[in-house]
């Protein structure tokens, strides 16, 4: 490490960093402040402050019969899709990444790229493709369609994070376990899996977040019976462009922060990022 020096250049660097952080945080801060406006529009800065739009959010929590589903149900649906898709994607992604790490076979480079395709394709293309494809699979309900679509979307993230963890772990350790008498399965479960745990968890978290936030692909797959949160917000915006949106968004930000805090307590996000 070089010694830190207090120079003019150093000062400018600090100011520059401060500006970048401010620029990144500003939209969120503005949204948060706007949610407390007393007026009917999304104007910033608010002339007067109130919590009336949060009261409106509370009203939307329950289903409005015949009109549209309530926020509670919509939120829980998104949560369920996200958790199931993340779980499915994590299992599939770990298996795929492991196979590509452990075995050298012809066409592997192509396969590796193939797994990343959903990341490269515009989501709208994947969305249209899935819409056409699922029209032939009429047996699948909208809930299953959404989960399958989100699994396709999130698989690359798990393959990449788990692949990186496997790369860092190498093959010596698993080999050593087998040399000591472990079967391949036990060597994987007792040695490799604990060592790539952080990559697996990181991949699963990514998968959940991507699924929870996914709008484009979801737009092609949802139905009135299965309407996830991003679609609900979008539809609401199409009819009413009022500060309720700002209030909902602020609630989501708060929930995200709480979830991150809880996760950090549980598994240590700091360690996830550094490894």
């Amino acid at each position: 490490m070089l010694p830190r020096r207090r120079t003019t250049g150093h000062l400018f660097l600090r100011m520059w960093c401060g500006l970048v952080f401010a620029f990144l945080l500003a939209p969120i801060a503005i949204l948060f402040l706007t949610s407390f406006t007393a007026s009917e529009t999304l104007a910033f800065p608010p002339a007067q402050y109130s919590v009336r739009w949060y009261a409106k959010v509370l009203q939307h929590l329950k289903d409005a019969p015949g009109l549209k589903p309530g926020l509670t149900g919509v939120f829980l649906l998104s949560l369920r899709i996200g958790l199931i898709a993340a779980a499915g994607t994590t299992v599939a992604g770990v298996l795929a990444a492991y196979a590509m790490h452990r075995y050298r076979f012809r066409g592997m480079a192509i396969l590796r790229q193939y797994f990343l395709l959903p990341l490269m394709f515009p989501q709208i293309v994947t969305g249209i493709a899935l819409l056409v494809w699922f029209n032939h699979l009429t047996a699948l309900g909208p809930f299953v369609r959404l989960i399958l679509g989100h699994m396709i979307l999130t698989l690359p993230y798990v393959v990449v994070t788990v692949g990186a963890s496997l790369e860092a772990t190498g093959t010596d350790l698993e080999e050593a376990a087998i040399g000591l008498g472990a079967s391949r399965l036990r060597a994987f479960l007792l040695v490799t899996l604990p060592l790539i745990r952080q990559g697996v968890i990181a991949g699963a978290i990514f998968a959940f977040i991507i699924s929870f936030n996914a709008f484009t692909i979801t737009y092609f797959l949802y139905s009135g019976d299965a309407l996830p949160l991003p679609i609900w917000i979008f539809e609401y915006m199409a009819y009413f462009l009022d500060p309720t949106l700002a209030a909902i968004s602020s609630c989501l930000i708060l929930l995200t922060l709480l979830a991150m805090f809880a996760l950090d307590r549980l598994v240590g996000i700091g360690r996830l990022v550094t490894r």
Binding site: D172, L173, A176, A177, I178, G179, L180, G181, R186, L195
Partner: protein, 369 residues
């Protein structure tokens, strides 16, 4: 345990990677309790050979017998081997105890027996008291000893060591070599050790196997290989050596003597030659640097005396190396224990060099470059 004498037998083992032959028709028997070093430059196939014995690489041809049983088709976890890696390959998420206990747990031994055997293994490598440490909290030398304990605790038929000391610093490596040798002798375990460090092989091995481009060049006790290398590769790889290129100009097999003339027309007598030497054939005369005699000018005439000039004297600690050039132009290196009169030689000083006939050996001519 089988009744056969040898613990491990490789029979015509061959392995190709794409177009490259990594191991070429290797046949080798390792006796029970023997310490065998596979020695050679990088890429000579020594590690591949070891991994074939372990079962992590499948041979294209040949048979592998452990304890007299053909295990060529058995997976590594059914081969009864203990392996130590260059990287140690300790499980970083497990404690020292759990690392050492791993192989015993795979064999489903009782908890009490595991505790007892792990304790004994840790005693053996002097790591009692470190049971609850994680590998990351140990020094390189300690990690190496944990890896050794982990391999030994399962009482394998054969211990396989893949350059286990090469990550240690020079001083610790020396110390560990001696410890490893003492440990191996004490428990009498059959050991196959891979190294590129010829000094390590000389120190440790009962027999060394010199490999080059996938082939065995020579097998034998280190002393034999050092004194009687079969060819230039072995002579050059094992220890330091002086080579003089030339031709065989006369052979007297009744006396076991030959006359050798260097390309610079220096005539040397060689003793103890074997049959098959052809007059006129190209050859290399070879002599170890410690076997060359130096003396001041003006002594009585003797066999194989070459007038020479000191080029430089290099002090390397316990050894002093004197670089010489004969008047005909051949380069020679002479090693002496430091502290002797040779240290006083000055560059340019004219002396006499004697290559004693019994210390000279003739090897097949080097391949023309």
């Amino acid at each position: 345990m089988g009744d056969t004498a040898e613990a491990v037998r490789l029979d015509g083992i061959t392995k190709r990677f794409d177009q490259v032959i990594a191991v070429n028709d290797v046949t080798l028997e390792v006796q029970r309790g023997e310490f065998v070093c596979l020695l050679g430059p990088s890429g000579c196939g020594k590690t591949t050979t070891l991994r074939i014995v372990a079962g992590f690489v499948e041979a294209d041809a040949g048979r592998l017998l452990i304890n007299g049983k053909d295990v060529s088709d058995r997976p590594p976890n059914k081969r009864d081997i203990g392996m130590v890696y260059q990287s140690y390959a300790l499980f970083p998420h497990l404690t020292v105890f759990d690392n050492v206990a791993f192989g015993l747990r795979m064999r489903r031994l009782s908890g009490a027996e595991i505790t007892e055997r792990v304790g004994r293994a840790l005693d053996l490598v002097r790591l009692r008291g470190k049971e609850e440490r994680k590998p990351g909290q140990l020094s390189g030398g300690q990690q190496q000893r944990v890896a050794l304990a982990r391999a030994l605790v399962i009482h394998p038929t054969v211990l396989l060591l893949d350059e286990p000391l090469s990550n240690l610093d020079a001083k610790l490596r020396k110390q560990m070599q001696l410890e490893l040798k003492a440990l191996q002798r004490a428990i009498g375990i059959t050991t196959v050790h891979v190294t590129h460090d010829q000094e390590e092989a000389l120190t440790l091995a009962d027999r060394a196997v010199i490999l080059n481009e996938g082939r065995i060049e020579q097998i034998g006790p280190p002393r034999d290989l050092y004194a009687h290398p079969r060819n230039v590769f072995v002579a050059d790889f094992l220890g330091r050596a002086n080579f003089l290129t030339g031709r065989v100009t006369a052979v007297d097999l009744t006396q076991g003597m030959a006359t050798f003339t260097t390309e610079r027309k220096e005539v040397l007598t060689v003793k103890g030659v074997e049959s098959g030497l052809i007059v006129g054939s190209a050859a290399d005369a070879f002599i170890r640097p410690e076997r060359i005699v130096m003396r001041l000018r003006g002594g009585p005439p003797v066999e194989n005396l070459l007038p020479a000039e000191v080029v430089q004297v290099i002090f390397t600690g316990s050894l002093v190396t004197v670089e010489l050039q004969t008047e005909a132009g051949s380069r020679l290196f002479v090693d002496r224990a430091s502290g002797g009169p040779e240290e006083a030689f000055a560059a340019g000083e004219k002396i006499d060099v004697i290559l004693p006939a019994p210390a000279l050996r003739l090897l097949d001519g080097r391949q023309p470059l």
